[in-house]
């Protein structure tokens, strides 16, 4: 890739959510969520289970329509069908009998929405091989998708999403169920992809520490509300306390960040017992 980013140069905005709220069956799932994603940047969408991360993905993908607010793609409303978003869902189980090799699944990323039977083509095969190399998936290219390990399937699905040359790549909890080594590999891979291909990458996670070294921006979600900015701007006691509506502490331990419920009883409005509102494992 030739484009070298000048530090401080404004990066192209790929996606923005502006005041997005979503009501589903009488409950407010998202409240006034706003953030933007930029080319070449890796953004972490951090929050505990049930905070609204997957719903935000569904809004971006057009599977849910916001009750209010705007979702703009490159400054425009998103088209109904959008090939420029790649999506890797949260650990999908694939039947071991599924007659698809990893390379077949990657090829379906190229033209899986087209009708008819594909003819074998050299160009297609070349593109698939290139993408398998990019995610370091050559070793298991001919393995059945149902027999891949979590990390292998993750990389295959990333290749599947990337082969269509998206501007935005969404990954729902890609690090869940990975061992530490695969976790580091996937994180490193995604950071490289964001920089080299100049696409915006949004990764949801309930645990932020594995993403800290590579995250350009963070969107922190709690109870359907979100705060966004750089890690230093967002992961602070005052910002997160306001988000949770109760006092939380942010502790830095050996380069890791821990968000823990505080003891200050005065800050929480509903009178709930202060230590139970923030679930464990926030990061």
């Amino acid at each position: 890739m030739t484009d070298v980013l000048r530090p401080g140069a404004p990066r192209e905005e790929i996606l923005s959510l502006d005041g997005v709220s979503l009501w589903l069956s009488g409950r407010e799932i998202l409240h006034d969520v706003a953030f933007s994603l930029h080319a070449g940047e890796l953004t972490g969408l951090i929050g505990s289970n049930g905070a609204g991360k997957t719903t935000i993905f569904r809004v971006i993908l057009g599977m849910e329509t916001p009750s209010s607010g705007k979702v703009l793609f490159g400054g425009h409303p998103r088209p109904r069908r959008n090939r420029s978003i790649g999506y890797v869902p949260q650990n999908i189980g694939i039947d071991p009998d599924m007659p698809l090799r990893a390379r077949d699944l990657v090829a379906l990323g190229l033209d899986g929405d087209r009708f008819g039977i594909p003819l074998p083509s050299r160009r297609r095969r070349h593109l698939v091989d290139e993408m398998l190399d990019a995610v370091d998936a050559r070793d298991f290219a001919d393995t059945r998708v149902g027999k891949l390990s979590g990390g292998e399937l993750q990389r295959t699905l990333i290749a599947h999403a990337l082969i269509a040359r998206p501007r935005l790549l969404l990954l729902d909890e890609p690090l869940a169920n990975l061992d530490i080594r695969s976790e580091q590999e996937v994180v490193g891979l995604l950071a490289t992809i964001a920089k080299q291909q100049q696409i915006a990458v949004l990764i949801s996670a309930h645990e932020m520490n594995p993403l800290l070294p590579v995250m350009d921006r963070v969107v922190y979600v709690a109870a359907g509300r979100a705060a966004s900015g750089s890690t230093a701007e967002v992961i602070r006691a005052d910002v997160l306390s306001a988000l949770y509506g109760q006092h939380v502490d942010v502790l830095h331990v050996h380069g890791r960040i821990l968000v823990v419920a505080g003891k200050d009883e005065a800050h929480h409005p509903e009178g709930e017992s202060g230590h139970t509102v923030v679930p464990r494992g926030l990061g």
């Binding site: 039947d95 599924m98 007659p99 698809l100 379906l108 929405d113 087209r114 070793d139 590999e185």
Partner: protein, 318 residues
């Protein structure tokens, strides 16, 4: 040598008109079912496939009652059933199974009524047997064009939707994010399945149609990991079991105890089971051999395993 051949191909086999029609129509129908069935299995819709066959019973018995060709009864009710399943069903697999079960129950209830009315009116049980267990040797040559058109229709739908079907079998969400109209694809596929099942209701019977829909496909999926090859294998197996079934049924006229011949459907279904068990055995053996090879390769590599962390760990675990 000639004696042996004569023993296998009993005299008159190749000159018999019913046998020739059975070979052509039965073969085509089995091929269509097997090809369509590959997607039934990978989409996890075996229950829906079976239910469409059972709904065929309702249609067949209704057609018998009004004196129409059973094929039209089978196909009308299978398509109505497919539509109802889609209407009541949801994206959740359990919701889909529930919808299928409800439609299936209603259909079989009506079938019970129609068969009762039909048999008490005509005082014959022949129709019930024909509808439930098929009648390959009583197919008429005049029906061949109709079977051909319907077969081509089912195959054309599957060929058209080949890639979207594969992708949505992997994940509905991934397919939908990729721009596949998942719902429409699912509905069109149900239509193809309804047509395939209706055709095999005529040849092999409403109750047994599941065997030719699911069996060859399930066996094929054990034999190959490539989608195109899986479809080819399923087609070959479907065609093979049907033709051998016809041969055995013809030969069985000379077998004890009755000298009346055994039903084709029995032979076909029995062969499907045998082929499935064989392919399952073959795939287990292959997996064991691959495992042993991987183990040997890893021993040979020694410390080099560090260079390929993920794959080795995962495959070693299996």
């Amino acid at each position: 040598m000639t004696a042996v051949l004569n023993g296998i191909f009993e005299p008159g086999l190749f000159t018999s008109e019913p046998v020739r029609v059975a070979v052509v129509v039965g073969g085509a129908v089995a091929l269509v079912s097997a090809v369509v069935g590959v997607f039934t299995v990978i989409r996890g819709q075996s229950f829906a496939g079976h239910s469409l066959g059972d709904l065929g019973t309702t249609g067949g018995s209704a057609a018998f009652l009004v004196g129409a060709n059973p094929l039209w009864g089978f196909i009308t009710f299978a398509i109505i059933g497919a539509g109802a399943m889609e209407l009541f069903g949801s994206r959740r697999p359990r919701g889909r199974d529930m919808a299928t079960g409800i439609v299936l129950g209603a259909g079989l209830g009506i079938a019970a009524l129609f068969l009762y009315l039909g048999t008490t009116q005509d005082n014959t049980t022949g129709a019930t047997i024909t509808i439930l267990f098929g009648s390959m040797f009583v197919l008429r040559a005049s029906m061949i064009p109709v079977f051909a058109v319907l077969s081509v229709l089912a195959l054309a739908i599957v060929a058209l939707l080949y890639r979207p079907l594969l992708l949505s079998a992997v994940s509905q969400d991934v397919a939908s994010a990729r721009g596949v109209p998942v719902r429409t694809v699912g509905l069109l596929y149900l239509l193809a399945m309804a047509v395939a099942v209706s055709l095999s209701c005529v040849t092999i019977g409403a109750i047994l149609s599941t065997a030719v829909l699911i069996g060859p496909a399930a066996a094929a999926l054990r034999l190959t990991k490539r989608p195109g090859l899986a479809i080819a294998w399923a087609a070959v197996i479907g065609l093979g079991v049907t033709w051998i079934g016809i041969l055995l049924a013809y030969d069985s006229y000379y077998w004890p105890p009755t000298g009346r011949g055994w039903p084709v459907s029995f032979f076909v279904v029995a062969l499907v089971l045998v082929v499935y068990l064989l392919s399952d055995f073959a795939s287990h053996r292959q997996a064991r051999r691959a495992g042993a090879q991987a183990m040997a390769a890893r021993k040979g590599l020694g410390g080099a395993a560090g260079g390929q962390p993920e794959g080795i760990r995962a495959r070693g675990a299996r």
